[in-house]
């Protein structure tokens, strides 16, 4: 029959233990390394680890403490070793177990682990065990170091343990500040908790309200427990530090993985050792494919091999490289990348690898290029406008000068009282010519200005082009008898939906030019043909023609052929520019052809018969009449 008694178990043990069981039975039942009841300790085979101090010698088999009596040295040493070999849920739990053991074994009612911070005069109670009737200083209390007996330890040169068996009668310590601060402490024993580097961490101490006499074994036990705790504390610190490092490492790995840049690490020979997610996306190679592969063959196209060599040389020389680089993807396509290559070094500063960070700057390049183009276009527009204003100003000032000069001449002769009628007529005629030119120029300039700003209204309606051409040919400058005029194709009406005023302007311009640029006379041939696909008006002259290559120049603002200006033929060079824009606003075209200088010119105007809505008229053009605006 087993007598089972509920035992008070120490330090994380739990459950019931047979009171009277054979040792073998207990050995079998009790988990390894557990300290049992208040006074009964068992140690188990295998707890023979040396190293807890000179006074501790472990045998292969430990005997237990006796059932009733004081703990025999092998007994509490066995307890100690049991404690050392126990596994606690936390080091806090282990500390509490140590303090309880301490209190038990020393017969002192309070045990503390404290941490000393001499600079702050601090003595913090990290863990406390207070048996009934103890000192009741709780864990977490922060005491002034100078008012505790622990200061005796921290103040001593060799950090020696301190035992005060009767504080109030001790000749030295009864006047210690701690005796004033804590009159209820009757005895004190404390040992330093020393870390492996010899520095003082704090103390392990026990106090009791009454005086106590302690055996050598008991004080030894305290020393051993302090070492045990120091080991525990350092291990805790190491664990915390390792956890912190691991967390930081994990964070950095996550950062590297999630950063919106390709991060590639290679060894010094360029073999890939790390390849983040963005690198997979950017270069098209998966991590598995590239690990161990050569970075040069993976991301560098043949065109960039030279710069890649330069980068490697810089890195070998211990420098970093930063710049733009045409990187190559897996599929062979290239993209502009901004690359930063730096050396990765070990703790001793020796290079161990290369960290390359690359970002795709295609979009940035595109934006920059767009910006550049826009700026260039704006500058060009400004330049064209300035040139236009400059030429316009010149063109306006010349006829004004001529008119003013003529008027001043006439005034002078009037003042002299010699008004010669022939001269008067010549002068006034010059003024009229100049002002006519000014009027035409102003109209043209206004047209050009409206064309450029897109404010050129078109009022399109069905118009008989045959009638329009005939009317202008028969009444305009071409009909003045200096030239032989032939008109063809106007017998039948040719109805087109156009702005009649604007088209008349074009026809007049073409006929006037034909006459003007054939100063020697000759034939002016006007030919209109009306086909379903559109109307075609040709105006041919036998005049000065166009120098080769100027067929388009004459349609630019103020663009005149050299032989026109050279022959002193008047004109500002705006008429054809305006005419072509009008033709284009109707969905048509205006072109010039010439076999060369002196060989005549043929102007060809093409106009569609129907309104093309996408040429500017509203989609729902009303009653055959539509109004559009010419885009500049």
């Amino acid at each position: 029959v087993l007598l089972v008694q509920k035992c008070r178990l120490h330090s994380g043990c739990g459950g019931t233990v047979p009171r009277r069981e054979s040792r073998a039975g207990i050995l079998r039942m009790v988990p390894a390394g557990i300290c049992l009841s208040r006074r009964v300790c068992w140690a188990l085979p295998g707890f023979d680890r040396p190293g807890y101090g000179e006074s501790i010698v472990f045998g292969r088999r430990m005997t237990g403490c006796d059932d009733m009596g004081n703990a025999a040295p092998p007994g509490y040493l066995g307890c100690l070793s049991a404690l050392a070999g126990s596994s606690f849920a936390s080091s806090r739990e282990a500390t509490d177990a140590v303090l309880r053991l301490l209190s038990d074994q020393l017969g002192m009612r309070s045990g503390f682990l404290t941490r000393i911070t001499p600079q702050q005069n601090g003595n913090e109670v990290l863990a406390a065990y207070n048996a009934p009737g103890g000192c009741d200083v709780p864990a977490g209390a922060l005491l002034p170091l100078s008012e505790t007996y622990c200061s005796v330890i921290s103040d001593s040169i060799d950090l020696a343990p301190v035992l005060i068996e009767a504080t109030h009668t001790d000749p030295i310590f009864r006047i210690h500040p701690a005796s004033m601060a804590s009159p209820h402490i009757g005895s004190f024993i404390g040992v330093p908790v020393l870390l492996s580097d010899g520095s003082l961490y704090g103390t392990l101490c026990a106090v009791d309200p009454d005086p106590r006499t302690l055996t050598r074994h008991q004080s030894d036990l305290l020393v051993v427990l302090a070492r045990l705790l120091a080991t525990q504390i350092e291990r805790d610190d190491q664990l915390a530090e390792r956890r912190r490092v691991q967390e930081q490492l994990l964070l950095q790995v996550q950062l590297i993985e999630q950063v919106a840049a390709a991060v590639i690490v290679t060894d010094l020979e360029g073999r890939v050792t790390h390849w983040n997610q963005h690198a997979e996306r950017l270069y098209g190679w998966s991590r598995e494919e590239v690990l161990g592969g050569n970075i040069g063959q993976l991301t560098v196209g043949p065109a960039e091999s030279e710069i890649a060599t330069e980068i490697m040389e810089r890195l070998r020389a211990g420098q970093s490289w930063e710049g733009e680089f045409l990187a190559t993807r897996r599929d062979g396509f290239t993209f502009p990348a901004y690359v930063t290559d730096t050396l990765a070094c070990d703790a001793d500063g020796h290079p161990v690898g290369i960290v390359g960070v690359s970002v795709d700057i295609t979009e940035r390049e595109r934006l920059l290029a767009g910006e550049r183009t826009a700026r260039e276009e704006a500058e060009e527009a400004l330049r064209v406008r300035d040139e236009f204003l400059s030429i316009a100003s010149h063109e306006l000032r010349n006829p004004v000068s001529a008119a003013k000069g003529s008027a001043q001449l006439l005034l002078r002769s009037l003042r002299r009282g010699t008004p010669d009628p022939e001269r008067m007529e010549r002068g006034l005629g010059a003024i009229v010519t100049a002002t006519d030119r000014l009027a035409v120029l102003i109209d043209d300039l206004l047209d050009v200005s409206r064309l450029r700003s897109g404010q050129f209204p078109m009022r399109k309606r069905p118009t008989d082009l045959a009638a329009l051409v005939q009317e202008e040919a028969e009444t305009g400058s071409a009909s003045r008898g200096t030239h032989c005029l032939t008109i063809e194709g106007i017998a039948a009406p040719c109805i087109a939906t156009v702005d009649p005023d604007r088209i008349r302007q074009v026809v007049v311009n073409l006929l006037d030019n034909a006459v003007k640029y054939s100063p020697g006379g000759g034939e002016v041939r006007v030919l209109l043909s009306c086909e379903p696909e559109g109307a075609l008006l040709r105006v041919e002259d036998q005049g000065i023609g166009l120098p080769h290559g100027t067929e388009d120049r004459i349609f630019e603002p103020f663009g005149r052929a050299a032989n026109a200006t050279g022959s002193n033929l008047p004109g500002m060079g705006l008429g054809l520019y305006i005419s072509r824009r009008i033709a284009e606003a109707h969905g048509g075209s205006l072109r010039a052809e010439s076999a060369g200088e002196g060989r005549g010119t043929t102007m060809t105007l093409r106009l569609p018969l129907q309104v093309h809505h996408d040429e500017g008229g509203p989609p729902d053009g009303h009653r055959g009449e539509s109004e559009g605006r010419l885009g500049g």
Binding site: S401, A402, S406, Q408, L409, A562
Partner: protein, 123 residues
């Protein structure tokens, strides 16, 4: 050269050439005119003026090109004083750049022109 003072008028604008010629002749000067720089250089081969009235913007050979060519002429023709007549807004600066004695902007007063020519001839 004799007593008759000579002025060469270079301008592509017929109206301006005729007004200037008529006015200057009336004031007693001998006048030749040219419609561009190249024609003016042809005139200078046979006829040495005491002053040149020069327009800037002209077809074929403009005022700048003419001045450059004039500087290369011999027999003192490179020193014939210039009076620049220009419709450009920067006329004064152009005058300085060309080394002209006077720069007049268009439209001009005939009196200004007479004054400029007198000033150049009496220097």
């Amino acid at each position: 050269v004799g007593d008759t003072r000579r002025v060469l008028v270079i301008d592509d604008e017929l109206g301006i050439r005729s007004v200037l010629a008529e006015a200057l002749v009336e004031e007693g000067w001998e006048v030749q005119s040219a419609r561009d720089g190249r024609e003016a250089l042809r005139v200078l081969r046979a006829w040495r003026p005491d002053a040149i009235l020069l327009d800037m913007m002209m077809p074929v050979m403009d005022g700048w090109a003419f001045r450059k060519a004039q500087r290369g002429l011999t027999d003192g023709l490179s020193d014939v004083p210039l009076i620049v007549l220009s419709a450009a807004r920067e006329v004064a600066a152009h005058g300085v750049a060309l080394g002209a004695a006077v720069a007049l902007s268009k439209p001009f007063d005939l009196d200004e022109v007479f004054e400029a020519v007198e000033q150049v001839l009496h220097r």
